[in-house]
Symmetry: C2
Subunit: 692 residues, 2 copies
């Protein structure tokens, strides 16, 4: 009985909302299967079965020697038996019609046993079973009281967590529990041999109990597929990502100049940006940000009001806001009047509003309400004093928050015992932070999400759905051919001619008009300038003949395809365009200022290709040396729009011509007469599509 | 009875180790004086007295109507009476021979009453009393059971905390308490009208109970004096600083080009660096770092070993280490052999060492010991599992740490209940962090301290001890005069001549040799190029006469002092030198690459002046565009040593000539023949030293 793959009629519901659960593995005290079954029993989960060679039961879960023997509906098999037994267990599950399995068992690719993993994968496919794992920590659905994991079991809430690593998931959930933040669903997918990050994202997109998705990744298998899903999710709800292994993955060899500078992490960051997802650097930041979103309020702009009873922490928060680009602007006349109507004269009638040690809960409420008229979000910052307990402050904040949709975040001295205050704030969905800076970080993420989402509404560039990594022997296209190809794609160069002898060179140069530039054409000479393969400012026929001889000399002992000749072009600025292929994300476009700016300042920006014109313009504007393009020191602005079109066009090439694996135009000259490619390197392979 | 100021024979001991304490202020229930006295009584402090108009006692503290009436030795008066009463209270204290006072009372400069504060200051000076505050939160000396503050009273330990803000101090201490970190001394100095940050630093330098000093600052009154003290402290023990108000202080107007780009925060950061102090961005980071130092171990290099039972968190820690410049290098052959001798084959025999879920406390101990042979510090990272409790892990870590002086830091899943483990680790002085990244941050600070301290051993540049801010009307020195002055200081320029007529210009240009550059000389034309006041490449006498006329035209309606003429110099790179004055730190030196690098990339570095040659070289090497100076794309290296000498010489000018308030040499040309100033702007004032 084999169902076709990916046609599980329940989708991931068989994992998160199973009707019957079989736990396969030794039922002895302290064993994983035993612990899991006890957890199910504790939480009142029905229709649970223990499966082990002895048919031993656990508590009210009856024991069976096989899944088939259960004889009742089982949607989910949780497999914790030894690695070697997983294939027969899957076969048993398949025969019993089980649609989904969580394989907790380890001993597969993570332990140098990729063959074992491949066998599991094949068996599951044969049996029509979707599975999570192997080597995973299981999953949680708090809203169904389901905790098929050994990790800390969290309280229900609105943050979903998808984590490649079980331990990181456990850490996140124990931090969340300590801070009173609730979780909707958690899943650790371990080796991710079948169901993967993208599948969970798609499922959680449609999960009404999930407001925001936290994602911990160590690697991405198929970046393009992941991006396609991610885009559809961020259009509906925010996704915040931690990616670890930032510094080791960038070490792979890369052939091209721009490719070598890319590094997977920069590409990954650009991909997240492109998909409207947010990034966190630490687990704490991940929780801070997701807590903010879980409060279900909307940040409509970038202005921030702060109320405090103590100056220092408010200054720290304002500093951080300023650094991130949130505006803690001063109070205007109306607001000052409103504040002055109830605050004593020594209180700080400005933004931040400093109530001083004499502030009361009522003052917090009134000040917050006044600020909410003027700002897009407010933070209430309280430091414990002997004169003012936390409870009236919490009540004041809750009262102010009740009247608005804007974010109202709170900062409490969480080291101290705040008891009832935290419970009340939690019940009112007001996030509590340990410092103003952390609250500010969360608000800034909300603002970024709003603006990324705006951007996400643009229609995407249409490209062939899949561009397989081309394989085969790579070769550099000779410059004249590369230039003709680019010209044909609407990327202009100066006119050029080729020559195979000194006399021919002199003649062709004359046709083009002196002075000219002559360059050697040889597949073995890539860095022509360094090799002496470029002669500038050739002024007459005699010099042209001499230049030809010199270039032939440069190619001595190498394949020599003659010379390429261009008229000399005067230009004042140059840029670089690049295309490379990232192993995770496929084609990547690069843009940078030429020369020293790229070489010394590494002032290059990367994005998964293709980019449409608005995104190309964003790339161009994001480099540090953009002012040079925009016009400075008396130089006119370069045609930025034209550059954007050029970059967009260029970024499409690897999709139109999958045999192109790398391309650089270095430099593109920006002259008063136009934008011209002055040198081009295109590397292609004879494409051999592999069948896998 | 007036003692001379600053001659208190007890120094700050009268604050931290007082023999008798009078608490002045209303003794009613809930009032500050009442709360403080109860705290003293609870902690068993002897010789405490209540002073208030009614002479009311509190518990075993007898009541008096004045300090004089006590009739016994009182070293410290803690004043919590209303602002208006502070002056008479100080007079009473003076008459009773009290050497020190803590003025908790507020209502002074922080509340728009600087006059009240000045009166308090004057009264204290008259009475020979040193005081902390006003508007402060008091102090703590845990090793003397003294808590003259309303803030959380911490456990004894080795971290001293000096905080301008009482609230920030309270937050830090409650965080420290939650993490089991102990405090040696705490002081909040509020308005800091008398005893200030520098005084506390000097005192804590010699305090045997303090290993590390945490400092929270909002402003610095006298940057130079503070730096002088700070340097002597960091030579003995680490100082970690948070400075808030980073973004608002930078808004003051600054006259010079380089000065406008400085911003107090960059200067402050440079000053800390120069003094060998460390900086933290958040309170959490401040605690993480000081906790690390408090463990009293030495970080001898920059290599780091990690042992974990779970991959994810270790990867995050390794990423962070890599970003900060700590080396999580792979295990060498010997180490791999040592690890393989006791670890199972599926464990990660590398660095990080991954014991997997099967790791035991004994494995932690053995793996840490093995890593300690190869690395300068180790982190033991534990994530709770059902198979391994925290206690055996803690014991394994403690056993490994017992045999070494190197840092052994631990990371525990602190959200869970770790009970006895945390106590045992605390007793063994092994810091516990909530994440590997935070442990790494602390280790990196220890490494930085070691290298900054090394640097601190250099003999400082000798300069006059005080350079008062010059006052009076500022004026720009005409270029010929400025150039002659610089030449006299050993800063070369090309030869130059001046001319006041067309004929004279032609003659002078001929003397210098064509081609020449001619520039207008007018005190009203500062940006000569922008105003059309520079004529390049003047090739003969006729052109010189014409250029003169053109420049006279440029100065029409303005003061015109003729023209200055230089021979044309060919050069390929240019730099900028600058001197400005910071309101907090006085003279500041700036160095940057000229032209676009400074204007677009803001690639300029600042340091409090003067800088010696090694520090000047450090500045030069620290700019992003240094590779351009170092030689790239076929250009030879500029004479970096010579530039260092030039910058050092230049940075001394404001000390040798206090009337110089700003100076820029822009550009300094670097040519094959040497380094030459091509333009100079010096702004001086007629110095009027104020008497304050």
């Amino acid at each position: 009985m084999t169902r076709p793959r990916r046609e599980n009629p329940m989708g991931l519901d068989s994992f998160f909302k199973p009707q019957g659960i079989a736990v396969i593995g030794s039922a002895g005290e302290g064993k994983i299967a035993n612990v899991l079954l006890h957890r199910f029993i504790e939480k009142g989960v029905e229709n649970i079965y223990a499966v082990n060679p002895k048919g031993q039961g656990v508590g009210r879960a009856a024991g069976y020697t096989s899944v088939q023997a259960i004889g009742r509906r089982v949607d989910l098999a949780v497999i914790a038996s030894p690695a070697g037994s997983v294939v027969p267990v899957l076969e048993d599950c398949g025969s019993a019609g089980v649609p989904g399995a969580i394989i907790i068992s380890s001993g597969f690719s993570e332990a140098g046993n990729p063959r074992g993993e491949a066998e599991v994968k094949a068996a599951a496919r044969r049996e029509g079973i979707r599975f999570i794992g192997p080597n995973c920590a299981g999953l949680v659905n708090t809203h169904a009281n389901l905790a098929a994991t050994l990790e800390v079991c969290p309280e229900p809430g609105h943050i979903a967590l998808v984590s490649q690593s079980g331990a990181m998931g456990g850490l996140f959930m124990s931090m969340a529990a300590a801070q009173g933040a609730g979780i909707s669903k958690f899943v650790s997918y371990g080796n991710g041999a079948d169901v993967n990050a993208g599948d969970f994202l798609a499922y959680l997109r449609d999960d009404p109990e999930t407001e925001v998705i936290a994602l911990y990744l160590e690697s991405i298998r198929n970046g393009r597929e992941f991006m396609a899903v991610l885009k559809t999710v961020t259009a509906v709800k925010p996704v915040v990502v931690i990616k670890s292994g930032r510094t080791s993955t960038g070490q792979r060899a890369a052939l091209s100049h721009t490719g070598a500078m890319a590094g997977s992490d920069r590409i990954f960051a650009a991909a997240l940006d492109q998909c409207g997802a947010l990034r966190a650097e630490t687990l704490e930041e991940l929780l801070d940000i997701t807590k903010g979103f879980a409060a279900r309020r909307k940040m409509g702009g970038n202005s921030l009001g702060i109320v405090t009873n103590s100056g220092g922490p408010a200054v720290m928060a304002a500093d951080r806001a300023d650094e991130l680009g949130l505006l803690v602007s001063g109070a205007d006349e109306d607001l000052r009047t409103a504040l002055a109507s109830f605050l004593p004269p020594h209180a700080g009638i400005q933004n931040p509003v400093d109530l001083t040690v004499e502030g009361s809960g009522g003052d917090y409420e009134k000040a917050l309400k006044a600020l909410l008229h003027s700002y897009d979000a407010v933070i209430a910052l309280y430091v414990g004093t002997p004169y003012l307990k936390s409870l009236p402050v919490a009540e004041g904040i809750i009262a102010a928050a009740a009247k608005t949709e804007k974010p109202v975040f709170s900062v409490f001295d969480v080291g101290r015992d705040l008891g009832e205050s935290l419970d009340k704030l939690g019940a009112a969905d007001i996030p509590v932070y340990a410092s103003g800076e952390r609250a500010v970080t969360a608000l800034n993420a909300m603002r970024r999400y709003a603006s990324l989402r705006e951007k996400g509404r643009r229609k995407p560039v249409e490209v062939p759905a899949e561009t397989p990594e081309p394989r085969g022997e790579a070769g550099t296209v000779p410059e004249p051919e590369a230039m003709r190809f680019l010209n044909g794609q609407g990327i202009p160069s100066p006119p050029f001619l080729t020559a195979c002898s000194g006399e021919e060179a002199a003649e062709r140069a004359k046709e083009l008009g002196f002075p000219v530039v002559m360059k050697v054409v040889s597949p073995e000479i890539i860095h022509k300038s360094d090799a002496g393969g470029v002669v500038l400012n050739v002024r007459n026929a005699e010099e042209a003949a001499r230049a030809f001889n010199r270039l032939r000399e440069v190619a001595r002992g190498k394949t020599f395809h003659g010379v390429i000749i261009y008229p000399m072009l005067s230009f004042d600025r140059e840029i670089i365009l690049g295309i490379s292929r990232d192993p995770d994300f496929g084609p990547v476009a690069a843009f940078g200022m030429g020369g020293i700016y790229t070489e010394v300042f590494k002032d290059v920006v990367f994005r998964p290709a293709p980019v449409d014109v608005p995104e190309a313009l964003e790339m161009i504007r994001s480099i540090r040396s953009f002012p040079i393009l925009a016009g400075t020191r008396g130089k006119a602005a370069a045609g930025i729009e034209g550059l954007g079109e050029l970059l967009s066009k260029f970024s499409l090439l690897p999709f139109l011509y999958p045999e192109i694996i790398e391309a650089d135009i270095n430099p593109v000259a920006i002259s008063p007469k136009g934008i011209y490619a002055l040198d081009a390197r295109i590397v292609t392979v004879k494409e051999k599509r592999s069948k896998d």
